[in-house]
Amino acid sequence: MTKSVMTRAGLFTRAAPQQLSRSAGGGRIDRSKPVSFTFDGCSYRGYEGDTLASALLANNVHLVGRSFKYHRPRGILAAGSEEPNALVRVGRGARAEPNLRATQVELHEGLYAESQNRFPSLKFDVGAINSALQSFFPAGFYYKTFMWPASMWMTYEHVIRHAAGLGRVADEHDDPDRYERIHAHCDVLVAGGGVAGLMAALQAARSGARVILADEQNEFGGWLLGEADVTIDGDTPAGWIAGVVAELAAIDDVTLLPRTTVFGYMDHNYLTLTERVTDHMASPPAHLPRQRLWKVRATQTILAQGAHERPLVFSGNDLPGVMLAGAVRTYINRYGVVPGNRTVVFTNNDDAYRTALALDSAGAHVLVVDLRRDLRGELVKSVRAAGIEVLSGHAVTIASGTQHLARVQIAPVNEGGSTVLDDPFHMDCDLLAMSGGLSPAVHLHSQARGKLGWDDRLLCFKPTTVHEASFNAGAGNGVFDTEKAIADGLKAGGAAAKAAGLTVSDTEAPAIEAPNQSWRPLAAWKIGNGYGPGQGPKAFVDFQNDVTASDVGLAAREGYQSVEHLKRYTTLGMATDQGKTSNINGLAILADALGREIPEVGTTTFRMPYTPASIGAIAGRDIGTLFDPTRLTRMDEWHRANGATFEHVGQWMRAWYYPKDGETMQDAVNREVLAARTTAGILDASTLGKIDIRGPDAAEFLNRLYTNSWLKLGIGKCRYGLMLKDDGMVMDDGVTTRLGENHFHMTTTTGGAAGVLDWMEEWLQTEWPDLKVYLTSVTEEWSVATLSGPNAAKILQAAGIDISLDTADFPFMSMREAHIAGLPVRVFRISFTGELSYEINIRARHGLALWTHLMAAGEAFGLTPYGTEAMHVLRAEKGFIIVGQETDGSVTPQDLGMDWIVSKVKPDFIGKRALERASMAMEDRKQLVGLRTRDRRRVIPEGAHAVLDPNEEMPMTMLGQVTSSYYSPNIGGSIAMAMLKGGRALMGGTVYLPMLDGDVIEAEVVEPMFFDPKGERING
């Protein structure tokens, strides 16, 4: 006992009890490294190499949870990921994680775990009243009870939600741990590192394949790690495994992933794996992720996940102390834990006899109860030779005890175990190891839409045909025998390597010595208990979802004959468990109830994840600033330094407004808007999409793309264009400039930039491949400063521009190349404000320099930077639309009153034919209008709906919605634009905008043009 253990256990909590059930020696635990941990507030000790389950069992703790529905006491059933009962919450505070299987939680110093689904404590749980009332909780209870009246559903839902759900998430919601994702590719992915998987990986790797071998446990070897009666090439299983792992580890192109669960198998051999990187460490280093999600694209996969042992379905089979026989053997051999002293092995097959021998060797008293009558074979002989009593043709009919198994009732039964033939006898015991045969873990195979076939001899579904490029091997393929499983793995490894285009290595299978046993179980699905049908203590099929044999029978009688319906109705095979231990028993009992064969009933669809994957690993580093890129313009530094507030426009951050000390947003925007009309404003317009268009057919292409005419646009001239989808609806707008005969510079909206380029490429590539046009995005090549206002030209002159700005030399809607401060610029005389306006484009590296230079030159003129909010107000004063604000994908140019931009003479353009549809001419289409509030100070909230009669009963007849609305300091009142049904016909009339608080805003319908209607300010 080390000092640190003494300190933790001795000073801060009450003394840890002895590990009473720990064997004297053996196992793959490191007895020189004791570990202390806490479960439900008690401190215990285990060893490195333990799982939480094995350590609890070593401490004689069997009761580890309460069941989902009836709150029945439950213990540890299994030793691996198939564990349905022992779900625990591990960690504290923000690190707490619910629903972990104690059988998979590796012990480390200071591990903190709690049981779940109990209140106030595990031993005294008030929810267990459900168990007393169990006849009131039949299959489909919730569906039946909470159906009516419908109006009560909200109340029911609240109650159900409180009672439902497994476990409790972390108390704090900011997960402090780091999670990562990684992509990987391989020739062969092997899922499962038991004998078959190891052999398959070895063969593939020796053949030169890039191999990924993943296993959910902390070390490779699978079941073999729990077998003491096998030798491989004369070596112990552990010795042989170590050799194989060492060889694999030495190969560069082999990736070994222990503690990694392959949980999802998607199309085209795409698999997802969760690697638990540091969960087993007491103090994980900060640079490592806690978990890592692997996304693997495999050329071939080998599924070698092994098999799950089935429970037997008898009354009281869910008591703590009732365990799977194979698990008991694993606890003894792998973990050095003997989970009982007076033990009963209850089986329908040979394999449990190995457990009987292991128990006997460990010093326990053993009685074997075998459902089979005719007992043959070496294992039976060995067991009898060891002096162990064997009862053939008998069954454990009832197991009983309060919180732990105390007694079993044993009786002779008929062939299938369903009928008790004679009086039972009772026996006291503290462990029952049951074995109902093996079910291959076909989850991944089934996720990948592989087909299953029923094996009448082994009584299980096993893979038949695959859908993806995959192979099954070993126990997961229905090959349970160790020697045959190794051969199967070898074969699959070779086949996968060959399928991946490699030359298969000459590898021989190792020589195996293992007990000679039959793998054929007796079909005995529901063990009788001497009571009438459905009577007597409950016999559980699905431990995790508390589904009993009677529930399955009841569901069948109520007409749930499809296995998929049975699943939903009874919840059989749902939740974290995905039916690992329950599936086949449930199907068999359903088949029996329906009088059908098991293969006729079929299986439910297995869904990912195989075992739960944490959301953190799926999110990876997509958190915080890495969640989504933030794009900044090259003038951003100035905006930030000068107190701008920002708004998101797609991924871009644009300066929204620049408040001065003490200014409200409205104050700042008013100041910016006034400045642009009285002296000059400057806007960072760099985010506008820019597309360079070249080729002899460039003009023709634009002619088809835009609604207006482009063939005759002069070089150096600019033109506004509206782009439609082929359904005639406005999709984008912008100004395009002819730089040369075959060369254009297009601008798009900020949000539309990528979409418009894609749209143009689509037409060029798919519809008009004969057009000779090339497109190149130059959005980020140019930084753009827009100078707007009566003093714009003076400021440009002060900035030293080297061209004449006279309107005659440089008219509206034209472009000039020039220099400012010696730097080449392209200046576009276009205007989104109605003022004299210049859009100055400069190579992005000089963007900030241009901006600061213009600010300095404009200082004497009171040049005012304005943001996107002022830009919106300025354009709304002029009635200019913003695509995506006035439009929503259902608006035509005519709806916007922009008929003028739609060519009547062009033979075709995108959307032309659609605009001619009869429905496009309907008078009740929503049309763009301006709104002038009667109360001039009142600004209508954007999105407000307009009605003609504010006193109409609800639901009112709605005309449409306000799309833009601002206070305009230039007008001295509120302005708004709206899309109203038959809006043009309402011109001059009054509409009403009812508010949520009952208030009604009254507004006159006006032309959407509030300022300088004649456009007299455009030349300054």
């Binding site: 490592l288 992720p289 890495l626």
Partner: protein, 204 residues
């Protein structure tokens, strides 16, 4: 192919990463960082769109004898022609040489259907070196980056986390990464974060 270097003159002006501070995560195992990020500031970049009739002109100005095959790079000296698509290439050249090269190419291609566009300021080029480069990239890139599948002289346009990037593999364990300038700060931050377990540095 030798790596892309940036030995040309450095014209004045800023890049998207000018303000990014030098960052380092120490290699937890000691030694050099597994990832070293360096900005190839102002590396010349010219986008070429056109067919094989561009070859004589390109050849004349770069010395290359053929346009690159799909997903390949052709390099002559400090000029690299990166395949982007069936009719699209990215020409990388020394900082400062792109303006003249762009004019020359434009002039010489006047007779053919082609588009020569200076995108030097549109795109940011980063040099990525160090032992862990492939492993770091694999955290955000779905391509098979195994040296047998993506080796010297290979290139690809793909996604790195949420950014569109062009990756170019060099013979040294290094890559050149090209992305839109507005994504460069995100890409750099992402790379530094992904490199945490191997040690990473950004030298600007």
């Amino acid at each position: 192919m030798a790596s892309v270097s940036n030995e040309g003159q450095r014209p004045p002006g800023r890049t998207a990463l000018t303000d990014m501070t030098v960052m380092t995560h120490d290699n937890p195992d000691g030694g050099k960082p597994g990832l070293v990020i360096t900005e190839l500031a102002h590396l010349g970049k010219i986008n070429l769109r056109g067919g094989s009739d561009m070859l004589p002109v390109i050849s004349n100005h770069t010395g290359c004898s053929a346009l690159p095959d799909n997903n390949r790079v052709v390099s002559v000296g400090d000029r690299h022609i990166v395949w982007l698509g069936p009719d699209e290439f990215l020409l990388l050249c020394a900082a400062g040489s792109e303006t003249h090269l762009h004019s020359q190419l434009t002039l010489d291609m006047a007779g053919i259907h082609a588009a020569v566009t200076n995108v030097t300021d549109s795109l940011c080029a980063l040099s990525l070196r160090g032992k862990a480069v492939r492993r770091v990239l694999a955290k955000g890139c779905a391509l098979d980056l195994h040296s047998s599948k993506f080796g010297t002289g290979d290139c690809a346009q793909t996604m790195l986390a949420h950014a569109a990037v062009t990756l170019i593999a060099h013979d040294a364990p290094g890559f050149t990464l090209v992305c839109r300038t507005s994504f460069a700060p995100y890409v750099t931050e992402w790379l530094m974060d992904a490199g945490l377990e191997f040690g990473a540095s950004f030298r600007g």
